[in-house]
Symmetry: C2
Subunit: 126 residues, 2 copies
DNA sequence: ATTTTTACTATGTCAATCGTAGTACGGCTA
DNA sequence: TAGCCGTACTACGATTGACATAGTAAAAAT
């Protein structure tokens, strides 16, 4: 079974997290669950990757942390909210993604053309 | 101007090189030129990145090197050809790419929806 | 004759992911 | 009420790939 390698998703973990924070402030465990369910378990972010992304992005000013005032129930957690700078960064990553997609797809063969060792025409490329 | 960050392309440099070797054996300088022209200069691979990819892939058995017997003209170069294992690896990376694309696009907003702080509906996502 | 292009090699740094481990609280069950 | 599972993290070191910088050297262009 094919799964996503870390080298591929690297560079988009921050974007993924920012997308989720764009909707509402959140915290590590919730974010990780959301990624898991949204991708139908195709991508499960490692805890260490996630928390180090939080640290990096807070240092860069893309997110801000605040503590849950544990009213009533639940364990105290560290919440993060996206900043304006983070929103800008997210936008630029979206643009970059479109460019990257375009670039990489020059080098990806459509299924069914793998075994074809005839000269490649433009139409074989997606 | 937006350019592609190395973290993004990381994990696809090997695939890009293998795609080009799939067509005919080649060598560093030629590969780098091809990447540049095929992407319309949107992606220019660094020399060190390229040659270290060659070394890594030869070690992994994805490619084989041979020396040009410099008949007549041109400087002696090291050519690489793709192996069967390399072909298999390339195929798996293509499949992985399709999966990755699907996953990442869950988290990328279409242009025009950036400033929208209404609740996100499925249709905002591409 | 000198510069530019071609064609590399060597070395060390950096950043992000990951493996492993450990802490600690809350809720549920036996 | 003891123990376990799920939640919510932190710490630390290893690994990997990309990159900066530097250098070599032959061929081609000027």
């Amino acid at each position: 079974m094919i799964s996503i390698s870390s080298d591929v998703i690297r560079g988009y973990n921050d974007t993924i997290i920012l997308f989720l924070l764009l909707q509402h402030p959140s915290y590590g465990y919730e974010i990780s669950k959301q990624i898991k369910t949204l991708t139908e378990e195709k991508y499960i972010i490692k805890e260490t990757t996630l928390y180090s992304a939080f640290n990096r992005m807070e240092k860069n000013g893309y997110i801000e942390s605040f503590s849950s005032d544990q009213e009533g129930s639940g364990k105290r957690r560290t919440y993060y909210r996206i900043t304006n700078l983070g929103r800008q960064y997210y936008q630029s990553k979206c643009s970059e993604w479109n460019l990257t997609k375009e670039v990489i797809e020059h080098f990806i063969l459509k299924e069914g053309n793998y075994g074809n060792n005839q000269k490649l025409s433009r139409s074989n490329v997606c």
